[in-house]
């Protein structure tokens, strides 16, 4: 694989590496399509900030936009992106389970020390 391809992969993941942008993807995945104003309202984040995050996602090729009158509607361009989250969720669940197991172990040790 060429360095350019690695950069392209990295830029897609970088676009997804911000909690606000994850929220935007989740919102669009749920509602299908939304204008900037509704996204801003729904997430309670001011319009310029939402606009900037949307342009980052768009530049990465993850979402696309369509102008309709005054409004710009955004939607997910690559539906398989939802699978990212299913996998990421497995990682997160594994972490939570590991932390839980660890705290149980600590409780056991405390009992033994008594």
């Amino acid at each position: 694989m060429s360095d350019e391809i690695y950069d392209m992969y990295a830029s897609i993941f970088k676009a997804l590496s911000h909690p606000t942008r994850i929220k935007i993807i989740e919102l669009l995945a749920t509602k299908g399509e939304m204008c900037v104003c509704n996204i801003s309202e729904n997430l309670k984040i001011d319009q310029p900030t939402v606009s900037k995050h949307l342009s980052i996602l768009k530049n990465a090729g993850i979402i696309e936009s369509k102008k309709e009158g005054l409004m710009v509607n955004y939607k997910i361009r690559m539906p398989c992106i939802v699978d990212f989250f299913r996998c990421a969720n497995q990682v997160i669940q594994a972490d939570i389970n590991a932390k839980f197991a660890l705290s149980l172990k600590k409780i056991e040790v405390m009992k033994e020390e008594k």
Copy 2:
């Protein structure tokens, strides 16, 4: 979803948002398991830098390590991470196709202008 969960998703994607770390994942996905020295040698990146990237991937829960004597072997903890790349590849291919279509269109316009 709580803000903490969004942060966890974001940190997983952030861990993948660097070309060197993509290369490491690809390497581990292919070879199964590798020590730091072999990763460093294979990617021609110096050891402290590889070590830092590995710790970022490990903290995100994407890879795990096992110490064996002097060496530390790393392997992928979540096999589904490979699906990330399959999807990301679709995004990349779509971009490449779009660019190609655009350049064809420009050629058409140039012909008409003659």
